[in-house]
Each structure stands twice: as structure tokens, then as C-alpha cells.
């Protein structure tokens, strides 16, 4: 009976049925969307190898623009700002990932131990707040604290006899501030993800541990953390896949695009946006393509590693 069924399925798969037509029809709008907004730009990356000039519509412009080979990339990597850009993009991301994971895991473990579940819920709600704010709104919040003549921080400094700091001109404070903001924004999110994992654990492990006389700290160290290891590793590696993509709003909106902060806020996305607006397309397209390729490689690499750690969690 079952075998016959399998045979039928096999045969049915070979012929195009009415069902297939209807399903294709249903998927058609989304397919068109993918073509226009995902695949067309993918082919558009060849402008990185061209001296792109607007001439009619996009396709015509791409075809009529002159090939220049790797010249755009040569310019890109000859520029001394490129090193700053790469250092900032990758450097900040590494810190965001390591510190963000650590803080989220620690807080998730802590919040799971609170006596009052109601309070735990309230804390989570409050800490989730920044996740729902856009960087533009956060830039306004930061301005309220750091404005030179009216900001809270300078008010406090001058009222206690210190001297006001021109925050948007002084780059030494910004790496710390940017890291703080990024962690702050993602805190609620990370905590919820890890907390969901913790609450999913089988309580019998802890029962057994209690009977054996394990302290809370020992339970955390020998049960909770080892059981979380896989999720942590996967989240960690998946975020490594975005290491060449910077959070544009954080690096552009929050520092108000201040030139004095160039050294510490210049990332790939900031560069691409600025050159796009300045119509210097050559270098922008080269670095956008570089970013896409590196992103692709890191995603695939990360996936290969996930596959070895835990084949079920691999994306591909």
C-alpha cells in the first residue's frame, strides 16, 4: 500500500499538474519581487568593474558604461581611509558580538533566577524598549545627554566645577559610547532569546543536581551553561556572518556625521552612502561589492563551522 503510494507520488511529480499552475500563480507576486529587488541588483554589481555613467535607464547605462576592470578596486585599496574603514567595521563588530553575547547570557541566567516572575517580566519589558527605537530617535536621546551647551552631562560637569566637554568634537569618548549604545539596544533581544532556551531545559537535571547537593552556582556552571553552549555557539557564529556589515544608523546618525569623529565612526556602509550621495559611484560600487563578497564568504564559512558543531542548526 505504502509502496504504491510512493510510486504514485513519484509519477505525480513528473507531470506538471493543475495544482502546480495554481501554486506558481500564488507565488508569482513574490517571485517578481525577488527578481526586481534582489536579483536585478545582484547583476547590477558589475558596475563595480565599469566606469558607470547614467545614460538612459539602468540597464542601458550598465551596458553602455565603459569597462575599467579592477581600477575601482585599485583606487579603493590605495586610499588610506580604507584601512580605517575596514578596521572600524570589523573591529566594532567583533566587540559587539563578544560583549553582546556575554552580557545577554549573563543577564538571561540572572533573570531566570529571580524569585518574582512578575518582576522578571517587568524588567524584560523595560529592557526591550531600546530595541524598538530607531537610530534617529536614539540620536535625539544621545543629543539630550551630550549637547555641548544644554546637555545633561555637561550641565552636571559644570555644576560640579568641572569643564564642559565638546562631545561631538572629541573622538576619544566615542568608541566606548558606540559600543555601549549597540549593547544597550540589543540587550532585551539577546536576553529573551537566551531566556527562552533556559526555560526550555528539562527540570529533572536540576532535581538530580539538587539531590546530589549541588549549589546554585554549580548548577549554573555544570548544567545551564553547558546546555546553552550550542545555542550560544550558533548565535555567535551566525552573527559572525554579518561582520562586514555595519549598523549604518549607529555610525552615521548618532554621531551627527561629525567630521571630527571620522576616525572612529567611518565604516563601509558610511563610506558607501557618502560616496553614493556625492555621486562618486566607482569606489562606492567597488566597496559595496567587496562587502557583499566578504559577507557571502563569512556566512558560508560560519555555516560550515555550524555544521561541524551541530549539523541540525546549519542553515544550508
Amino acid at each position: 500500500m505504502r509502496k504504491q503510494n510512493a510510486g504514485q507520488v513519484g509519477r505525480r511529480k513528473k507531470r506538471w499538474s493543475r495544482d502546480d499552475t495554481e501554486l506558481t500563480f500564488l507565488a508569482l507576486p513574490t517571485i517578481v519581487w525577488y527578481l526586481l529587488f534582489s536579483f536585478l541588483p545582484m547583476f547590477g554589481v558589475i558596475i563595480a568593474f565599469k566606469n558607470f555613467r547614467i545614460n538612459g535607464n539602468f540597464l542601458q547605462s550598465v551596458i553602455t558604461s565603459r569597462w575599467v576592470g579592477l581600477k575601482n578596486f585599485k583606487y579603493l585599496f590605495a586610499s588610506k581611509d580604507t584601512l580605517t574603514m575596514l578596521r572600524n567595521t570589523v573591529g566594532y563588530n567583533v566587540i559587539f558580538i563578544v560583549l553582546g553575547t556575554f552580557v545577554s547570557v549573563v543577564l538571561a541566567v540572572m533573570v531566570s533566577q529571580l524569585y518574582s516572575k512578575r518582576l522578571a517580566k517587568a524588567y524584560q519589558t523595560a529592557m526591550f524598549m531600546p530595541y524598538f527605537l530607531s537610530w534617529v530617535v536614539i540620536a535625539v536621546c544621545v543629543w539630550a545627554f551630550l549637547s555641548f551647551d544644554k546637555g545633561i552631562v555637561n550641565n552636571y560637569l559644570t555644576s560640579t566645577g568641572g569643564t564642559a566637554v565638546n562631545w561631538y568634537m572629541d573622538k576619544q569618548y566615542w568608541p566606548g559610547l558606540l559600543i555601549f549604545l549597540k549593547i544597550w539596544k540589543g540587550l532585551g533581544y539577546g536576553m529573551v532569546v537566551y531566556l527562552a532556551t533556559i526555560t526550555g531545559f528539562d527540570p529533572t537535571y536540576y532535581e538530580a543536581a539538587v539531590i546530589d547537593g549541588a549549589t546554585k552556582w554549580q548548577q549554573t556552571k555544570y548544567i545551564t551553561l553547558p546546555m546553552m553552549k550550542n545555542v550560544i555557539v550558533i548565535m555567535f557564529i551566525l552573527s559572525v556572518g554579518t561582520i562586514f556589515f555595519s549598523d549604518f544608523g549607529l555610525f552615521y546618525q548618532v554621531p551627527h556625521d561629525s567630521n571630527s569623529l571620522f576616525d572612529v565612526t567611518y565604516t563601509i556602509d558610511v563610506m558607501v552612502y557618502k560616496s553614493l550621495k556625492a555621486s562618486t559611484v566607482g569606489m562606492a560600487s567597488a566597496s559595496a561589492l567587496f562587502q557583499s563578497i566578504m559577507g557571502c564568504l563569512t556566512v558560508l564559512g560560519a555555516n560550515a563551522i555550524v555544521k561541524r558543531v551541530d549539523p541540525d542548526s546549519a542553515m544550508i
Partner: protein, 308 residues
């Protein structure tokens, strides 16, 4: 019954030390404050009169409450309501269309016998790994699709994400039994009918989750405006705030074009309070809504982390 009683017994016994609990609570109260206070500060500045701000700077607790920023914004209702309208339009239309496109693709991919399943899975998957990047998307959208200074530029590019499609697909695979679809087919229903009449109504949780994510994405989006919108008539609230942040005189210039002399407006312009007031207008709907929807967010996040 017995088991749960036993578990609560264990929970009581296996607790952290009361002092540790106290310290943990302190830590979380502190962190919660750090997360909420900046917004409260913005709120309180928006309620301070321009004069007070100019003399003593920003303060957590306003010396005297004044609604002058809001009144000024109210007088600028043409600008404000237009921006509000754009934000609402983009959010509502984007969310509805996005949910439809995402779930229909998810449903199609979840049908085991569909001929093009493999091909479409690749169509959805490839963009997760490789994308054309900002520059070429920009030229495709502006020069090919004519989206420069077009309100659809704020809607279309953000509609579908492969991640959401895969979440949907996984959901349909595990919750829509094949037998329902098969029996509906025997009754003569087309796939279109099955999708709208049967699949969508029983998939409310995933619709809610994806709808909410899209809703917040659209409401909070400013990047699309920054790239594609120069025409101030098409500014969303976020774009308006961005503009005022970069250029405090924006509204006074705008008022000038409406026949009021620029100097007259600029002198009475509550510059400082105004940007804070717009930030409050943006945040208020989110802050009011999200505690109620948190449940769906969390379920969405967990679907994501457990993987589609």
C-alpha cells in the same frame, strides 16, 4: 498534578540566596532605568519651555511644564500631518502587502509535491547569502523602477525578507496537515481559495508575528527616506525628525514658504523642544503598543533562534 506540586516544592527549595536575589533585583532595576530614562528625558525636555531650556539647559524634571513645542507643532499641522500620514500609509500598506507576499511564498514552499519547490527554495535562499549591495540597489530602484521621490520607495524594498518566508514555511509545514489541503482539493477548491479561506485563518499566530515585525520595521524606517526621498512632501515622521535634527531651521523655512516671515517664525521657534516633541510623537505609539504585543515578538524571536 502531582508532578507540578513536586516541582514547585523543588523550586522553593532550589532558590538563590535571598541576598543574591536582592542584588540581582537591584541590577535589573538599574538596567531597566538605563533603558527607559533616556526616553523619559526626551519627554520631559519636550514639555519644557524654550526659555527655560535656554537658561538652564536640559533637565530631567522640567522647572515648569509647558506645551509650547506641541502647540507650535500643532500650528505646523500641514507638515506634521502629512508626515504622520506618510508614516501611517507606509506602515499599513507595507505590512499588509508584506504579510501577503511572505505567507503566500511560505505556503507554496511548504507544499511537498510542488514541482518548482526546489527552484523557489533557491530563489529565497540565495539573497540570504549574497546581495547586490546598496549602490546597485539604489540605481535599480531609481533609474529602472522609477522610485526616486516616490512613496512606494518606502514600501516596496522592505516588503519581503527571506528569513520571514522561511519562518512561514516552517510554520505551515508543521501546522497545516496535508489532509486538510487534500480534502479541500477534492471538494474542488483551487489553491488560491485554500490559501485565503483555510490556511490564512488558521495561521493567525505567524501572521501576527510577521505583521508586527514588519509594522515596527516600517514605522522605524528612515534609511529608505534618506536614500530615495528629497521631496519634503513625502517625508515620514522619521525623515522629518532626521531633517530637523540636521537642520533646526527646517520648519521655520517651511513656514516661510507658507507666507509667514521667516524671522518672525524663527524668533518664536521652540527649536530645542520641537525635535524632542517629534521624537515623542514617534515613540509614543510604540511604547503604548509593544508591551501588549511582546508575547508575539518573543514567540517570533524564538522561532528565529530555534531556526526556520
Amino acid at each position: 498534578m502531582k508532578k507540578s506540586a513536586y516541582q514547585t516544592g523543588l523550586e522553593k527549595f532550589n532558590r538563590i540566596h535571598p541576598a543574591t536575589n536582592f542584588v540581582f533585583n537591584l541590577v535589573f532595576i538599574l538596567l531597566s532605568l538605563v533603558c527607559v530614562v533616556p526616553i523619559l528625558l526626551v519627554l520631559s525636555i519636550s514639555l519644557t519651555s524654550e526659555q527655560t531650556i535656554n537658561s538652564v539647559g536640559y533637565q530631567f524634571i522640567p522647572q515648569s511644564v509647558s506645551f509650547e513645542s506641541y502647540i507650535f507643532l500643532w500650528k505646523q499641522y500641514v507638515v506634521l500631518f502629512r508626515a504622520f500620514g506618510v508614516s501611517i500609509f507606509v506602515t499599513v500598506v507595507g505590512t499588509v502587502l508584506g504579510v501577503l507576499l511572505t505567507t503566500s511564498m511560505g505556503y507554496v514552499l511548504s507544499r511537498p509535491q510542488y514541482r518548482l519547490k526546489k527552484f523557489l527554495t533557491w530563489v529565497v535562499f540565495i539573497p540570504m547569502v549574497f546581495n547586490g549591495g546598496m549602490v546597485s540597489s539604489y540605481f535599480v530602484n531609481t533609474n529602472f523602477l522609477g522610485l526616486k521621490n516616490n512613496i512606494w520607495a518606502l514600501v516596496l524594498p522592505l516588503m519581503v525578507s527571506s528569513f520571514n518566508v522561511i519562518v512561514c514555511k516552517t510554520f505551515f509545514q508543521s501546522t497545516i496537515p496535508d489532509s486538510i489541503v487534500e480534502s479541500a482539493k477534492i471538494d474542488g477548491a483551487t489553491q488560491l481559495k485554500i490559501f485565503f479561506r483555510i490556511v490564512l485563518p488558521i495561521s493567525l499566530p505567524v501572521l501576527a508575528t510577521i505583521g508586527l515585525f514588519l509594522c515596527f520595521t516600517y514605522w522605524n524606517d528612515w534609511f529608505q527616506s534618506m536614500l530615495y526621498i528629497d521631496d519634503s512632501k513625502l517625508y515620514s515622521l522619521q525623515a522629518l525628525l532626521m531633517q530637523i535634527m540636521n537642520n533646526v531651521d527646517y520648519l521655520s523655512r517651511n513656514a516661510a514658504t507658507m507666507g509667514i516671515s521667516a524671522a518672525q517664525v524663527a524668533s518664536g521657534l521652540p527649536k530645542e523642544g520641537m525635535r524632542m516633541a517629534i521624537a515623542v510623537i514617534i515613540v509614543l505609539p510604540i511604547a503604548c503598543a509593544y508591551p501588549f504585543f511582546q508575547k508575539y515578538f518573543i514567540s517570533g524571536l524564538t522561532i528565529g533562534s530555534v531556526k526556520g
